[in-house]
Subunit: 117 residues, 2 copies
């Protein structure tokens, strides 16, 4: 897939890149399980900085679209459309719960209470 970056755009470069990758996945240009180019490589080919690529990767990881891990690279999540938002909602609840000092069991309990109402 071809990614173009417009440095004159008011949209941030990392945002342009993230959008391009999102689109590539949605369009099927990038398949589930497929690994994206290493950040340094992609940065070099696009003429941008590694940080900028890593920031885009991190954003997509937070969305649940990518699995990004040290030494492994960025791999497109193997989930069906719709499951991305599910895993993101799961991740958010876990993050919020733990931030407030809740155990996994307590988070489950909160889920049950929320389901009653």
């Amino acid at each position: 897939m071809l990614i173009r970056i417009d440095p004159t755009s008011s949209v941030a470069i990392y945002d342009q890149l993230a959008a391009a990758i999102r689109g590539g996945v949605a369009a099927g240009d990038i398949r589930a399980g497929q690994r994206l180019p290493p950040a340094r490589e992609l940065a070099a080919s696009l003429g941008i900085n590694v940080h900028t690529v890593l920031k885009a990767y991190a954003a997509l990881r937070d969305e649940g679209l990518l699995h990004v891990r040290r030494g492994r690279g960025a791999v497109v999540t193997d989930v069906r459309p719709g499951e991305v938002e599910l895993s993101r909602a799961v991740a958010e609840l876990l993050a919020v719960g733990r931030r407030n000092g809740l155990s996994l069991t307590q988070i489950h309990h909160a889920l049950d209470q929320g389901a009653e109402s």
Copy 2:
């Protein structure tokens, strides 16, 4: 409030700082509407880099704890996270799960799976 950073800790500095601010808000040391020190200033007083402070501020903003805007600084949100934030995350997960045809049990299962990774 006093913030201490342990550079030898395995916990990332920006994470330590974010946790310290969260704790300060929770403990009432920092009140709603109060403005945090400029990133550069706080960075200098803690002996860390501006980026590190900004990353902590951005994380807290994503959590909804802070309003961070150019020229204005970082202001503590008037709504206290906690129950409100938790119930919102619960509601979102339930909504997303049911939209995708999951039962409550299946949502619990998704939560467990998310907790593993």
